[in-house]
Symmetry: C2
Subunit: 321 residues, 2 copies
């Protein structure tokens, strides 16, 4: 059964909207606790009830309030990000020892930042733990394409069959998560070298930032690990117009192969559900920005464009230098 | 005082968000009734309480429910769009006679469509009445620009000083509202000829659809007429790269002059508040899409991109042929 573009967007941005059904939205929120940090009036993420019940939550630094439905990291007044991060790291280490979370068995050894009101950096945590806390995560996705009289042709990699998450699915030319301290343009240059063997000079000279795609994803089995966890994500979007002579090549073992696909080949692969869900969103955004999907050939144009740019429920980062 | 890009976006998209303050959002909604049509389970617009109190609402076709806070157009089962539109037109004619609404003194003689669930065309009404009902309205905005080694230069018109709304302010190269039955690409070709004397052949050959900008605006004095009315709007966005030899010219009396401005000149005019509010949004969207505003030079990048693409509270149109 062919998937429509709106169905693909909904698979990725699959957390309910208040305006669609106010009662159902409010009821659904009862499945989660708010993740908070003392001294900051903000919800930093949504933690699934079953995680709240299972995670060790060392008493020296966590306060659980079932009435307010909050999980609060308690640190001394004047605590800094390093001190908060240490408390969180110790708690996550306890959870790893406890062994109850599938997700933590996929340890990434990368630190993801958490931001408070005004984009203040509050703490960082191991990447594999981030869906347990439901925090906003950040990445950069680049579409490499070749201009052709028939329209753009797009460099599409297939993920390695032994990859932890979404094995064998199609991906964006270059994509990666942003660790603490990384800015999107440097993330994309680094990933372009690591994942696609694209020379740094080619990327720096030609890459153009084109906006961002944002969504709130509820994880299913394909992501690996626990399901039902919330993953609000910001993906900064880049385009890279390439000379036909430049051919991306797998470099690490994360990518099986790159193929140069026509727009209709990409559309067919999308409708067959072959793209990793958030990468489908990035392709659809590319099609909107390049005038391939239009108000007159895409019946769900308005809903698609709005849902590619969901406003986050939580404070977000500023990567302004 | 220079305005930031986020301040400009907020001036246009100035209806509250639920996630910012749930209590305040709910309280604010008490200032409005829901506009509904019998047989359809959807709110089609928000009508300000003072409008509900003042509008004549002929009893043969309107049902006002203060408890449910709804204003419902009652038509016979099986009524069609033409029949509903006739009832609405008669009611608006009564209101014109009554003479209580400033807005209706700016009669436009253009019909705006109202869509129900699934994009079904339910009725149409005179453009000048649309903010009284708070319905979603549709338009198309095009940025005409010339590529220059220093970056794009943008054709910016100044609105005539005697224009009914936002006189003397800067505008997008071409912009117009979409009447019933019009599709965005035809709207932009028509307006390009009418407002900028751009030859149809040049526009058709080079115009590219690039997405849409959506927002919910609460009208202030600059819009003319009653204030506090809600205007949710969809603006389909087009780019037109022009040869330097093509110079837009005022054609009707709506535009005073066109100037070819550099990016920094446009940024300065934006920060001085010289652009009509929704046209500022379109310029900021152009800057994001063209890599002029980036995550690393615009501190409010994420909030700006999300608010340029607000998801509408009401059912919207499909302009798919």
């Amino acid at each position: 059964m062919a998937k429509s573009n709106l169905e693909l967007v909904r698979e990725c941005d699959n957390f309910p909207y208040y305006e669609d059904n106010r009662a159902a939205y409010t009821e659904n929120l009862q499945n989660y606790y708010s993740f908070r940090v003392t001294g900051y009036d903000a919800t930093l993420g949504y933690i699934l009830n079953t995680v709240v019940d299972t995670f060790p939550w060392p008493k020296n630094c966590w306060s659980i309030d079932p009435a307010a439905r909050t999980v609060t990291l308690v640190s001394l007044p004047g605590a800094n990000a390093a001190q908060r991060s240490k408390l969180v790291a110790q708690s996550i280490a306890d959870a790893v020892k406890q062994g109850n979370f599938e997700l933590l068995k996929g340890w990434r050894n990368e630190m993801y930042p958490v931001y408070g009101p005004g984009g203040e950096f509050l703490l960082e945590m191991e990447r594999s733990a981030s869906p347990l806390f439901g925090i906003v995560t950040y990445g950069a996705h680049m579409t490499g394409y070749v201009d052709d009289p028939s329209g753009p042709k797009i460099w599409v990699p297939r993920r390695a069959k032994n990859k932890q998450t979404y094995p064998g699915m199609l991906d964006n030319t270059v994509a990666g998560g942003m660790c603490t301290g990384e800015i999107p343009s440097e993330c994309i240059v680094r990933e372009a070298m690591e994942e696609a063997s694209l020379p740094e000079s080619v990327v720096r000279a030609n890459v153009v930032p084109r906006g961002c795609v944002t969504y709130t994803h509820v994880r299913d089995a394909r992501a690996g690990g626990e399901t039902g966890l919330i993953q609000p994500e910001v993906e900064y979007v880049y385009d890279l117009k390439l000379d036909p002579s430049v051919v991306p090549q797998p470099c690490d073992d994360e990518v099986e192969e790159f193929k140069l696909l026509s727009v209709s080949e990409v559309k067919e692969a999308l409708s067959r559900g072959e793209f990793k869900p958030n990468c489908a969103n990035i392709m659809i955004d590319f099609f909107v920005r390049h005038g391939i999907l239009t108000p007159e050939n895409e019946p769900d144009y308005l809903e698609i464009v709005a849902r590619l740019h969901r406003r986050m429920d939580h404070p977000t980062a500023s990567h302004c230098k």
